[in-house]
Symmetry: D2
Subunit: 382 residues, 4 copies
């Protein structure tokens, strides 16, 4: 396959900037494949497009130059100090494909807004003569979306839009535009994205695949690795408390309890669903400006063994969210593009390994999700 | 199957005492099934003997009464305070089947010693008219065993023994006696146990199954759950440091650097073998008397993400070794007995899930080991 | 000095029960002096009454027998299993001096309620012919008290009470009754207690000393030891996040965000006041039932060194609140009684070492507070 | 005072390079005073020379340019990326005062070696017309020095040297040269430095002050803050285990168990001396190359409260040794220079606050040491 585009909603955010810079660095031979799931030696060859062949564009509401954003990330320790300057020209080329603007969910002309988003994506595909484009949502987490009757069917949704009522939050606008443009879609955030019946209908109609939600990059990744251990060993978990300290733009956004609610919700389900019984314990997300682009999570688990013996496990995870997320964004875009080419449409539960709250998936067990992913790749993402 | 015996080498140690007390508590309806791998709801029905039907006996060099040992464990917080007294009579009954003595590796009459061990096991089986007995080694960890030519073949081994030279360490004597008596064998310690070519030959000759080594009950369990996460996500582990603080008899024994060497060796392999490259980092086992029966492990992992971002994971595990080990000992005895009944002989690599250094197994990935175990159980341990 | 009474408001709570049981154990020669500040070898001899000579009584709204409460604490690991039964008779003797009832802040007859509380305390003093009684508040933390004009002067307070309006929360009722009965007072909780101008006036009028608030027994103790280290070394603290997980009755009570607000408030001031600049960071108190009587705190501190180098310190404290608090309660009662005998009246800022939010004190530096305490003891609590 | 020189033994090491770069940054207005003990607002004015007025020189066995070393530190995250280049000229100026060579303890001409070291220091003082120079040892930690009779008196030492036998390790050579040149001396390492009777005699003879040993910059600093908390609260410490993971040159050097022995020795004393009883627990220093210039320490403390309740405290410290040490080196040089000017000679126990193993000091209590330091500064370092 050749000619694969990645359209980033939130193209100037930390995750998107790291993904673009990183892909350019790979192309220039300046970066290793660390962090790419599909580049582990022995991972099945799914015929994915090469990282170095990806073409980037996107929407963003702000217009800070990519080079400046990359330099901020270098200052914060996420990417190597000298790298942005060395890729100055390549970043400038991507710059030309980023449209300032996008969905903000408050437009008075919903039909026009959605048409514009769709046109932007189509124009990008045409401009670069791409076979396929995958739209990836890496905008800031939205507050939970209140259910509305217009979300139930595509017909009702279109009636509302044509009638001048914007009933979709921004994340769903990007999914709508992706599907309308005939593109696959990935929601890397906990926002609603494509998770509305009307949008599922649209994806089927346009025969495009999609995946989400909420990239699993830190605390939840570790939980997904550890919870099956307690389950398999029949150790009774009495409580699982988690504190997440985040700096950066993501942290500032999640300081809003409304936005944090979406994230907490997708984080919370995993343990109880893996263990098969409810598990007590607070779960906090807190903004700590001084952490910069880092995030730190502390989890504390109490459990009982044979004859009621009381034991504990605690872990502290300290990482850079963008460095963890960026290669997964690139992997997902390549996997969804390949699935699209192979004729898959609708949700891709086989990609659950990447997500906190995977669409259509039946297990939170990290190892089981990994096996499913490998099988999916081995059969060419069909 | 009815009539399964468990013969414990080291029958008065903390693990054995907890296993016996716990099985008696289960029989009396005083304990839940927490900690038993084979009692998780949904675990395949392998036709195992019931925990409450197991019959116990064993060897121990010391003669402290089981009741007293159980009360020491209650005092240390491993088992509930009132439990030993409530099971006083049942403990006394087991007491009658514990032979004071055993292998100490320094006998002048090796043939006689091995004959006596074998006879003790046979007598126990006959006394209780048991279909089958599994011998489980839960004695203290031995120093590494120097290789000797007499270990290479059964014929050479028997010649040495008959010639009056004791060439087997204590742990191997129990394996020899088990096999001679026609019993399955489990080595729950890092000692050499059955891992000598001569003993493998004997097990084949007598058509008995065996499993080991070194029960995976704490730090290594967590490592086995976490290392595949780093591998799957292609996160480059730069170092993995571990500090293990142990109290109790196990800790005191491992304060001897020679004995600790066996344990460290079996702990160390896992990470590098899972990741496929060597990983730096110290690994300590230290005796801290004040911890009593508790053990605490701290692991610190440095790793790199995309574009070289530096990140860390650390965890602290705080648990009671005996409470973790005891139900596994009972599970293993039941699984090996069932495999024996089903006609299996030789090593049982399907039981790798239980061990730090599994005989004949090919992966350290906890989830893969769990899947293998479930498949083994589902086919009746055949 | 002989004949010192300790009147516990909340006499059947975990802290009070541990204090009473512990003092009886000391008297019976069954306990060491661990945890008593005033019993450290070398601590100045202040002529305190002996722990073994203290006489106990108190109020409590519930009537669970002390022996039962003590056994619950033994079950939870706070006190040794056999101890309550060995002190059965001594506990029963104290039982006779506990009045079921007390202040609940919602009475229709405030004057009558306060008179009854005062009379209970006086009767206890007379019954045992005590020289002096110290009233210690160890009831559950109250929500913050809204300021009222009647709190400003003793005259206004008495007018309100005589007029049938209860303007004092329960904690202040105990302080009022203590002062009216001519007794010293300690508030070991973050509740308002004696911290109202009207009550300060009453304490002066009756010439009685008092101390508070909120015993420093865990996370805040460690913070008070560590914050001066950062200050002295001129390391710039960028954030200090704290998560407190509590089980037990205290935890259940603090699950109420209103009650937690009082506690958080007194916990929060320390770091900024020690460092001299505001410090960012969340501070959580969460109820985790499975912890039983334990509490676990995790603190995460980010700081900068020379040339902006980013560093972190984190600590995890795991303790039994009642075991930490009980000897301090006994120390405080003895110190306040001694100060009372020595003629001190009004607040005792010299006791700041014991409190999170010390009345009248000027530093949160633990070492400075300790020096002040030692000097106070050395001069006979004058 | 004007004209103070700092002569660094090990002038191209990480600590020295950070100290020089940092002082130049302060002079250029590019750095704040973070990390300087003597620059905390409110710290007594002792009339110290300004950081920006210090003049630097030193010995080093290697000849990597300072600018290159500074850039390596920037790459490792110790100092800001752009800083070395901005101070290129200033670093080059210091370069001219660094003599390649020094003491290596294996010379065949001890008298000549010591004369040369002394001459280098004197030449530096003369070249810059400095009032005073302080020699600071920041070379790599040496193995413990075996006692020799020649260390007992200055006469015996001089006889050995003149006789061609080098009986001093490198660290002591620098102290010898410092004293011979009439300079104050600071040993920031655990090496023997000035701690020999013969050298104490020489310092008295030349009327120069000195201080040491082993800068307290991480784990031991935290221990010194926490141990008095346990002591004051009469909490019985049952064990104190520590694991130190170090990268960088210091880590590589301490991977040698002989060198580590010196360091462990000075780390170990603190807890037992503060608490007044022996405390069990392992103490490890391990080299972990992947940590780069960072060090991470994990300490685990078990303690008992009232009635024997078992509790634990653990902390993890993650820092850059050089960033912590550098401002202390500059503080110490200024304090010793001021004491020298004020007429002090011999050891300066008032500087114990800075050291793990303070010469002549009587307490390890951090707060008490801080009070002593402030009093010393307030009286002009007299």
């Amino acid at each position: 396959m050749s000619g694969t585009g990645v359209w980033l909603a939130g193209a100037r955010g930390s995750v998107a900037t790291t993904a673009v810079l990183g892909a350019l660095a790979v192309r220039a031979g300046l970066a290793e494949r660390t962090g790419f799931v599909c580049e582990v030696p022995g991972f099945p060859d799914a015929g994915l497009p090469a990282v170095s062949d990806l073409v980037f564009g996107g929407h963003d509401l702000v217009d800070v130059p990519l080079l400046k954003r990359a330099e901020q990330l270098a200052h914060a320790g996420v990417v190597p100090p000298g790298l942005p300057a060395r890729l100055r020209d390549e970043l400038a080329a991507v710059e030309a494909d980023i449209v300032t603007g996008g969905a903000d969910g408050r437009t008075r002309d919903p039909a026009g807004t959605l048409r514009r988003l769709t046109d932007d994506i189509r124009a990008f595909r045409d401009r670069h003569a791409l076979d396929r484009v995958v739209v990836v949502n890496v905008t800031a987490t939205e507050p939970p979306t209140a259910p509305r009757p217009e979300h139930a069917t595509l017909a009702a949704l279109r009636r509302a839009i044509d009638g001048g009522t914007m009933v979709l939050p921004a994340s769903a606008c990007y999914a709508y535009a992706a599907f309308e443009a005939g593109c696959g879609h990935v929601d890397f955030t906990p926002s609603v994205g494509a998770r509305l019946p009307a949008l599922a209908e649209l994806a089927r109609e346009r025969a495009v695949p999609y995946a989400g939600n909420d990239g699993k990059t830190g605390e939840t990744l570790v939980k997904a690795a550890l919870a099956p251990m307690f389950a398999g060993r029949n150790l009774r978990v009495g409580s699982w408390a988690g504190t997440n300290l985040l700096g950066g733009g993501d942290g500032a956004n999640l300081a809003d309890p409304q936005a944090a609610a979406s994230k907490l919700d997708s984080k919370r389900r995993l343990v109880a669903e893996t263990l098969g019984y409810p598990v007590d314990g607070p779960l906090h997300i807190d903004y700590v400006a001084d952490l910069g682009e880092q995030k730190t999570a502390w989890d504390h688990v109490t459990f009982r063994g044979f004859l009621g013996a009381r034991m504990t496990l605690q872990f502290t995870w300290q990482g850079y969210d963008s460095a963890l997320a960026a290669p997964l964004v690139l992997d997902l875009a390549r996997l969804v593009a390949t699935a699209h080419a192979a004729g898959r449409a609708g949700p891709l539960p086989e990609l659950a390994y990447f997500f906190k709250d995977p669409i259509g998936a039946t297990t939170h067990d990290l190892a089981a999700q990994y096996d499913t992913l490998c099988a999916f790749a081995a059969r060419g993402c069909r």
